[in-house]
Amino acid sequence: MPTKIEKDHVTGTETTGHEWDGIKELNTPLPRWWLLVFYATIAFAVLWMILFPSLPIRGATGLTGWIAREAVVGEMQAHQARLEPMMARLRATTPGEIAADPELRAFALAGGRAAFANTCAGCHGAGGQGAPGGFPSLADDDWIWGGSLEAIRTTILHGVRNTEDERARQSQMPRFLADGLLSAAQVNDVAEYVLSLSGRAGDQAAAARGAAIYAENCASCHGERGEGNRELGAPRLSDQVWLYGGDKASVVRSIAFSRGGVMPAWQGRLDPAVINMLTVYVHALGGGE
């Protein structure tokens, strides 16, 4: 309790009795209206707690029954309803028609961007740049299953090497070493030959030996000159883009044990309009054909 309440001789006001290093505080009361405003804010807070969910107790929803989650869901549904006319148009058109119509295209690019971030970026990267270890770049000009609008749409609809969709893109390269189809030396030779297709062979003799093995075991899918085959999902071997790494050790590993990623089918998971938007968006990332 303050003890030294005294009258300040300059102002005629009483002090609070507190003193700090000779500095005393005057006891100047608030105006009444200010005090009332303060009480009003307290009343407001109590009223708010009664009306809206304020306590971390299950079922304590407040008299209004308002719930933030429901409000968000409602807003999202309202937003979807606003988009619906455009989505209906997107559902009824092919990606080719969307790309040709400036209005639909702008909408599809914006919507595709959002859908890509939601469903695709986890593997293919935020800008479709892909990731090491079998997640192909969608921004370059090298396509395993084709880069036309129709091919991209098919890949998104049915996925790759999954078991859930009958029409999924399927391909299976043999495990040449693991299954005893080739010896370790043969794998080494054919790896050198594969590197020579993009002008990077280190051992010309081995590459020459590998040519015959390649013609016998690989050319049927990857092509005589390593040009690849999109029907079979056999990547081109004569370019500079390598899904699992282009150094010799990586190539050897791919031949020896075979590698291939899996992509889910998005048909049934995504609205057909969203798949069309994704098609147009991925096509526009830079590599569309």
Partner: protein
């Protein structure tokens, strides 16, 4: 002068004669209602003129028209929030140019500092909206309820029908003015004739009605009820404006060296102040200026008019209360020390005064800041670009390796066109030979093969652009490139530097 007394209404309620236990102190101070008396005089005339000018500007400006062509709002001053445009006469600002508004506010703040350091609280006393609207509301109050004494009597009187009628009339008039004020505020953000019609016919949006109601309510409460409480308790400016003032600033002052000791007009040996309380009765904040400089004084100068009237009636020189500097007050005080009241003391005191020092380090600094900011803003306004291009280099991926070993970079080009025309611009790239420019979106090319991009009238056009380096170009990790937009005459309409990224060589 140094003895400052707090005005009555700031003191705690029942002021116990001797130190009382803390428990007996009141929790709040009752408001002492102020009944300012009407006054005539030069300061009052200036205040009326400023009031008319400010209110006139406020109510008339939204109705001024400015032809900008079809499809564009023709309101001279309009903040078009829906379309993100600010129209001010011939200037049309985009949201990213909001710094012009910030600059204007900074100019206003420095001007306020400068004016305060020269002439004291001119802003508070004459032009502050709180003062202007309170003055207007008091004028209405006087018309309906009469002057000070009549109002005090009315408030004390029992609630008869006549009193009810008068009070109702007053509040109706206040609400009318408040509604006009709130309505006018809305007009700065909506087309004035349209929104007026909508408000009157009940077809305006809920948002318009909300803000209309909000500003009507704040005007009514602040100018009708809160009044001087706003200046004393809510406004931060009175707290720190003292930092702008010094002993050479003109402030409303009571010349105590001339007025003291106070006494009856016919008494002998007393000063010029006859203790008539005219200055207190006209004060809109209810203070006694004779207590010296105080926080509550808004510097309106009405006490000067009131005191001058009394002095004139008594045949004494005017200016017992005047716009005076503190240094002059001190000089006069020193000059008349030990002199008895009388004409000689008055002459001596007045002779000791000097013309206010206008040029001081403080005012020079303010003037310098004012001209520097003003010049910077003028320069920015004159050099303001109406067509600009922004180049955003892709962040993910920073570059794409192509099948043939080449490298490609993606860019987003945003062409901001602040004019109402829609020029077609050729896109050119300044970069090492070999780099190839392609526009993803379908675009025509000019005679030299440069892609033609269309700018949107008063809008932003966006293009995806790729730059490709063939293999074996031997570029470093980062190569500077420049995008140029050429108009039909081949002149550079806009340019932007960017970079071309590639793998570490």
């Amino acid at each position: 002068m140094s003895e400052m007394k707090a005005p009555e209404r700031l003191q705690a309620r029942p002021a116990a004669a001797s130190p009382a236990p803390a428990a007996d102190l009141p929790l709040y101070a009752d408001r002492q209602k102020v009944y300012p008396k009407a006054v005539r005089g030069p300061v009052r005339r200036i205040k009326w003129a400023v009031l008319a000018l400010c209110l006139g500007l406020y109510y008339v400006v939204p109705w001024l028209r400015w032809d900008r062509g079809s499809g564009v709002p023709d309101q001279a001053v309009l903040v078009d929030i829906a379309n993100a445009r600010l129209f001010f006469l011939w200037i049309e600002l985009w949201p990213q140019e909001i710094y012009f508004l910030a600059g204007a506010l900074i100019l206003g703040a420095i001007a306020l500092f400068a004016v305060s350091s020269l002439f004291g609280r001119l802003w508070c006393g004459f032009t502050c909206p709180q003062t202007v609207w309170t003055d207007l509301f008091m004028w209405v109050e006087r018309l309906i309820e009469g002057d000070r004494v009549e109002r005090m009597r009315l408030d004390k009187a029992p609630w008869t029908a006549a009193k009810w009628a008068r009070k109702a009339a007053k509040h109706a008039a206040w609400l009318g003015i408040a509604a006009a004020t709130g309505g006018a505020w809305i007009m700065y953000f909506n087309d004035a004739p349209t929104v007026t019609r909508e408000i009157l016919t009940g077809t305006a949006s809920a948002r318009v009605y909300f803000f209309f109601g909000l500003f009507t309510a704040t005007t009514y409460v602040l100018a009708g009820w809160a009044r001087e409480q706003v200046c004393t308790y809510m406004c931060p400016w009175p707290r720190f404006q003292a930092a702008m003032l010094d002993e050479h600033s003109l402030v409303v002052s009571y010349r105590a060296w001339r007025g003291e000791p106070r006494g009856k007009a016919k008494a002998q040996g007393v000063g010029d102040c006859v203790d008539c309380y005219a200055c207190v009765h006209v004060c809109p904040t209810g203070i006694d200026i004779r207590d010296g400089q105080q926080l509550e004084c808004i510097g309106c100068g009405l006490c000067i008019d009131a005191c001058d009237q009394i002095m004139e009636r008594l045949g004494r020189p005017k200016g017992l209360i005047a716009f005076e500097t503190l240094s002059n007050l001190a000089a006069s005080e020193a000059a008349v020390a030990n002199l008895p009241p009388g004409p000689q003391r008055f002459a001596r005191g007045m002779a000791a005064r000097k013309a206010p020092r206008v040029i001081r380090p403080r005012t020079l600094v303010y003037a310098g800041m004012l001209s520097a900011v003003g010049l910077a803003m003028l320069t920015a306004l004159l050099l303001r670009e109406t067509l600009s291009v922004t180049v955003i280099h892709d962040r993910a991926p920073t570059f794409v390796r192509l099948a043939d070993g080449g490298v490609r970079n993606g860019y987003t080009l945003k062409i901001a066109n602040k004019t109402r025309e829609a020029p077609t611009l050729a896109l050119a790239l300044d970069a090492p030979a070999g780099l190839r420019l392609t526009v993803q979106d379908p675009a025509e090319s000019d005679a030299e093969g440069r892609p033609l991009l269309a700018a949107r009238p008063d809008g932003l056009a966006q293009y995806r652009v790729f730059v490709t380096a063939p293999p074996g170009l031997g570029l470093r990790e980062s190569t500077p490139v420049t995008f140029r937009l050429l108009d039909a005459g081949g002149r550079v309409a806009a340019r932007e530097d960017s970079i071309f990224l590639g793998p570490r060589p």
